[in-house]
Symmetry: C2
């Protein structure tokens, strides 16, 4: 057998490549549908060699999910804390939520679809973060109601779940929709969420009826 794959110097590099491969395979075939053999094949190494980098497949999933979720809450917190209008905040939340798709799509997809298969402890930890994220969105919506930007009868819980539904779905088809750049998706979904499908009100700065 010819061994031509270059082993680079930096340990971080190789570890990152291993994790990239795991993320790709988990995203493509699902955690249970993916074998460690599949991951090794992507890297051109033997299956058992993977265990030099992680102690179990489950731990690999944990690390992939961690990276897939990384920074989301922090970015959202800093957006929510800014002195902007609620409408602006929603737009920035959408953009911040989707931006990791540019460079970590497989991680994000794995986080969204496979986190349910994490071992109990890390699944619960991630669950708490997710709930904090949802609550933060609800709070932005509530502040928008108080400021008069949003409807007074808005159901903030359902509206928050609706926003997450919109943005999380993008991971499933981003890259397959030929005409849809991330910027375009961000703009269109922000407008859809803020103004709906109907109405003739102008885009950009909000127009009161």
């Amino acid at each position: 057998m010819t061994k031509k794959s270059s082993k680079t110097s930096h340990p971080r590099r190789r570890s990152a490549a291993i994790l990239d491969a795991a993320a790709e395979v988990f995203a493509a075939r699902g955690f249970h549908g993916a074998s460690t053999q599949d991951i090794a094949d992507v890297l051109g190494i033997k299956q058992a060699s993977l265990y030099y980098y992680f102690p179990s497949k489950e731990v690999a999933l944990e690390e992939v999910c961690l990276r897939g979720a990384e920074g989301h809450l922090e970015r959202a917190v800093s957006i929510a804390a800014a002195p902007d209008t609620a409408r602006d905040k929603i737009g920035r939340l959408i953009e911040a939520h989707l931006s990791p798709l540019l460079d970590r799509r497989a991680y994000v997809r794995t986080f969204l679809n496979e986190r349910q298969y994490l071992p109990t402890e890390s699944r619960q930890r991630i669950g708490r973060v997710s709930r904090a994220y949802e609550k933060l969105i609800e709070d932005v919506l509530k502040s928008g109601i108080r400021s008069g930007e949003f409807r007074h009868d808005l159901d903030c819980r359902l509206a928050a779940l609706g926003l997450l539904a919109l943005v999380n779905a993008v991971a499933a088809w981003y890259g397959k929709e030929p005409k849809a750049s991330l910027d375009r998706i961000v703009a269109e979904f922000a407008r859809l969420y803020l103004g709906g499908v109907g109405g003739t009100r102008s885009a950009g700065p909000r127009a009161k009826r």
Copy 2:
């Protein structure tokens, strides 16, 4: 396609219970995470006994997915063909899309999350139906633009994907959100999609209250 040979007087009953169990287990643990043993445990029978009802686990998935998707396109076609406003049609599409959650939630969830693991042929068949469904939504949106109900600059493709994102996400948390009955979700999401989060009313025909 090969359907199981009919039994005697009440042939459907037991078969249906078997399929229910498969749907529940597939929905809860994913196709690859679910073993035939898990399904048998739910039914209180031995693992091998399942093979009296289906010839393979994959075929069981096919039948579950089929029932999960059943009727969706047909209902949507008949809604789109009616002489209603586009706004009304969107509302009815949302309601029709979500109604199977009342009595077939596990089937719908399995269809949404596990259909990617179907064997090539049935996966492609289902893919064609899905695309027809998406196109139908796009067409309703286009008609709404022509009638002046919707914005002229609406991106119908993205808006259709957005609608599907909204309604498909419900399957993931319906039943866990204490305050959210299906009717409430339908009403709130219809309003959200048609009018957005902001504004108290929009131009054109108004949504019902």
